[in-house]
Structures are given as structure tokens and as C-alpha cells.
């Protein structure tokens, strides 16, 4: 059986490794448009960007690829899939498959021509991270467009490096999609206390000038001068090449609960590109986090080899910023109430649960990994809101 994996990044590499571990000894092909396997990305906006990590880590060394017996097809973009003939179409040829895994990930969202200007950075690849790190080393001021996790992490890194940061975010708080409005506002205040200039409810209209002397015009008419601009406004799944293939594409590859592409035989998706039916959350979701790609890889590998396991792990993401580690398990909904179960909103370290008063939707911790675990377990076990709050009242919270 010949298995082709499109995408030599986290999800693709881990799927290939798991396939071998599970005993697949037939041909295993890893395809990517880039001419090398990706590095591990989380440090690119964290330790590597701060200069703490000298080198990004390879996801797969040449030796590992060779010992796994992988056929690497790199530097050759896939341009389509022929489902009828079971072939991946490349710009310069075709690759037959018996089973196909789509691990093609996502691209950073661009802001039209704004992102083409010299001095305006994106942060996705190792090349991006090197350019941003070097630019920050020479900068006094950085404008960060987008106040999600990436923007907040870069603002923290800039602060540590003595670079004055301004964040522009159209939503009413930083990281509001991940944390919800209340916890988002709490973390926004913490960034502001460090001196980061956070502009909420506005976007960037235009950037003029040149590298080192950029002027950004905001939607509220204000202008911000900076040496460089980082655009971190989320990602879009890399599905352009799959249009017209017969696969259902709806903000990602539409999959069932086992990560199998809907209505199509022999195709699975993994990582950022998979929009799958989450049986526990009872919705079709797409998750762009590291742990999601890793854990899905193991399940997809089993399913490709004949199993049919549903993937129902609770989404998990961490973010290193403000000298601490934020951890989020589950999904905070916009209307959720928030209850601090360890520490308070005034403590550096805390654990909060969010939910609708009946169900717990998420557990959010700052600098409190161990304290977060029992609440995570309660969430995974489906404990009710009042049970979880009763638990927090029963243990004396103390200082984590």
C-alpha cells in the first residue's frame, strides 16, 4: 500500500512517523512545495524570537527521514488531486497513492498589498522568524497588527528586548478569540502595564514609508510611526490547490469525526487544514494549534491503516508571554461566564473556568500548570458547572 502525505510540516511529519511505528512498511511519500522539511514552529514566536533558542529545531533530520525509509518529494508543489485515478497532481508530474493524507497546513492571512511593503513582516516560517528577529534587534519601535496569540507573544518579546510595541486590534481585547472578552481584557491590562500601547477597536488602513521609517494610518485616523510592522492576523487553510478536486472545502477540508475527508474514499486530513466533526463538542471545527496537529497525527495514522477512531481530544493551546505561560483547554465561547477557581484576577498565577452556567467550556490557566490539571480533568469528564465550582470551594485555593 502506497501512502502519500502532502505537507512536510508538523502534521505530515508526525503522521509519517506514526505510520512507520504502527507497522506500515510499504512506500511512504512526503510531498511539500518547500525544498526542506519545516522546523518546529512554536519557538518562532517565543524563545527563538527572543534570542533564547539559537536554532529552530528540525521536525525531521535527514537521518531520521532516511531511517524511516521516507521518499521525500520536496520543492515540488502539489497543484491538485485526481480522486478518480488516485493521484496527487504536481506541477511537473503525478504521484499515485492508495491512501492520501492532507497535511498542507495554513498560510498567514495577508492584508492585501500592505504586506508586500519592505519592513512589513509576517511570522510563519523560519525565514520569517529570522527576518523579524534581525529587524527587532535594530528597532526602537514595532507596530503589531493583530492582537491574537502571535501578536501578544511578539509584543512581550519586543518588551523584553527594549523595543516599544504598539498593538492594533479590531476586537475589544487582546486574544479575545482564545480567551473570551473578560480574560482577554485582563491580559490586555497586563500588557498595557508593561508599557505596550494597545489600540483596540481599530485596524490599519495603510502603511507608507520605507523599512526603518514606516508610517501606519489607522482606521480611527491616528498614525503610528515604527521601524517595522508585524502583521499577525491569523491564517487561512492552504486549500487553494484542492478547489475543483471534488473534496468538500469549507474553511478547511471537510472531514468526519475520524478525520476522513467527507464522502471521498482513501483521503484524510490532519492539522490546520482539517475541519472535522468533533463528537464531544458537537460541532465542525478547525484548530490551528500545535498539540492538535500532533495528536491528530496519531489518530489519522491508525485510521489510514484501517482503524476508524474518532478524534475527540479537547483542544489545547499554550502561549508564553508576560513572563508566564498561558494554557487554555477547551474552547472559550464569547458569552461565557468566567469563574476564578485558583487565585484571582489580581494574581499573576490563576486558573479560571468558563462556561454557560450549566456546562464548562474551557479552563484557562496562567502560570499554574499543575493547579489547572484537576479542572482540565473535570472538563474532559464532562463535569457540570456547579460541580466544578463546588470543587473549587472545597479545596482552599491558596497561592499557586
Amino acid at each position: 500500500m502506497r501512502i502519500v502525505v502532502v505537507g512536510a510540516s508538523l502534521g505530515g511529519v508526525r503522521t509519517a512517523q506514526a505510520l512507520r511505528r504502527l507497522g506500515h512498511d510499504g512506500p511512504l511519500v512526503l510531498v511539500d512545495a518547500h525544498d526542506r522539511v519545516a522546523v518546529d514552529r512554536p519557538p518562532l514566536s517565543k524563545a527563538y524570537l527572543a534570542g533564547d533558542d539559537p536554532e529552530p529545531r528540525d521536525l525531521l533530520t535527514d537521518e531520521q527521514a532516511s531511517s524511516l525509509g521516507l521518499e521525500l518529494v520536496l520543492g515540488r508543489p502539489a497543484t491538485g488531486v485526481d480522486l478518480a485515478s488516485h493521484e496527487v497532481v504536481l506541477a511537473d508530474g503525478r504521484l499515485p497513492y492508495d491512501r492520501l493524507v492532507l497535511a498542507c497546513g495554513s498560510h498567514p492571512r495577508r492584508l492585501g498589498r500592505l504586506t508586500d511593503r519592505a519592513g512589513v513582516h509576517l511570522l510563519r516560517t523560519e525565514v520569517d522568524a529570522v527576518a523579524l528577529r534581525d529587524a527587532l534587534a535594530r528597532a526602537e519601535r514595532v507596530l503589531i497588527v493583530g492582537g491574537g496569540f502571535i501578536g501578544a507573544e511578539v509584543a512581550w518579546t519586543a518588551h523584553r528586548r527594549g523595543v516599544a510595541a504598539t498593538i492594533v486590534e479590531p476586537l475589544p481585547a487582546l486574544m479575545v478569540r482564545g480567551l473570551g472578552p473578560e480574560l482577554g481584557q485582563l491580559m490586555t491590562e497586563r500588557h498595557r502595564r508593561l508599557g505596550t500601547d494597545v489600540r483596540l477597536g481599530v485596524g490599519v488602513e495603510d502603511v507608507t514609508g520605507e523599512r526603518g521609517r514606516l508610517t501606519s494610518r489607522l482606521t480611527d485616523g491616528e498614525t503610528v510611526e515604527s521601524d517595522l510592522v508585524l502583521v499577525g492576523v491569523g491564517t487561512v487553510p492552504a486549500t487553494g490547490w484542492l478547489e475543483g478536486s471534488g473534496l468538500t472545502i469549507e474553511d478547511g477540508v471537510h472531514c468526519d469525526s475520524t478525520l476522513a475527508a467527507a464522502g471521498v474514499p482513501d483521503v484524510w486530513a490532519v492539522g490546520d487544514v482539517a475541519r472535522w466533526w468533533h463528537p464531544r463538542l458537537e460541532e465542525q471545527i478547525r484548530v490551528e494549534h500545535w498539540t492538535n496537529a500532533v495528536e491528530q497525527s496519531g489518530v489519522v495514522a491508525k485510521n489510514v491503516l484501517g482503524d476508524a477512531q474518532a478524534y475527540d481530544a479537547m483542544p489545547y493551546v499554550w502561549s508564553d508571554q508576560l513572563g508566564t505561560r498561558l494554557q487554555i483547554v477547551g474552547r472559550v465561547r464569547p458569552d461565557d461566564q468566567v469563574c476564578f477557581v485558583v487565585g484571582t484576577a489580581h494574581d499573576d498565577a490563576f486558573v479560571a473556568v468558563t462556561g454557560d452556567g450549566e456546562h464548562v467550556h474551557a479552563v484557562v490557566g496562567a502560570g499554574a500548570t499543575r493547579e489547572l490539571m484537576p479542572y482540565r480533568k473535570a472538563l474532559v469528564d464532562g463535569a457540570g458547572w456547579s460541580d466544578v465550582l463546588a470543587r473549587s470551594a472545597a479545596v482552599s485555593p491558596g497561592t499557586p
Binding site: 506514526a18 511505528r21 498539540t291 500532533v294 496519531g298 494554557q327 483547554v329 500548570t369 489547572l372 490539571m373
Partner: protein, 74 residues
């Protein structure tokens, strides 16, 4: 199967414990991972492997039976 946590690399993310609480616990003092099952019995090998795979710092490795063991020291 035996797994080992490199405590110089472990940053206390706790993801291994989330993946397989029966195999990995967290040190009450510093939050570092502690391997609870050594060797890992066959029924928990999947979980142990998931812990290895899901460590953001790659602090956990599968070691040969001859090496193992010495990781439970706090």
C-alpha cells in the same frame, strides 16, 4: 517499553499528563513530569507514546529496557 523524561529539558507544560495521566504525573514542587509506570505495561504503551509525541520540548524519549528507571528521582 520504557520512557524517560529529561528533566533538564522538561518545561512543565503538562501535556504528557493530559495525554496519559496513568503514565505521567506532575511533580508537586516544580511541575516537571514524573514517569509513574516503569516499565510501561502493554495496555498503557499507547498513552506513553502519546506523551512522547506530544511533549512540546521533546523531553520524553522511549529508551531501551536496559537504560530506563532512573527518572523517578525528584
Amino acid at each position: 517499553m520504557r520512557v524517560r523524561v529529561d528533566l533538564n529539558v522538561c518545561q512543565g507544560h503538562g501535556v504528557c499528563h493530559m495525554s496519559a495521566p496513568e503514565v505521567y504525573d506532575l511533580d508537586p514542587e516544580d511541575g516537571h513530569s514524573i514517569v509513574m509506570l516503569d516499565p510501561v505495561p502493554p495496555e498503557h504503551e499507547d498513552g506513553a507514546q502519546l506523551g512522547v509525541d506530544s511533549c512540546p520540548e521533546r523531553a520524553i524519549s522511549v529508551v531501551s529496557a536496559a537504560v530506563g528507571a532512573a527518572n523517578n528521582a525528584d
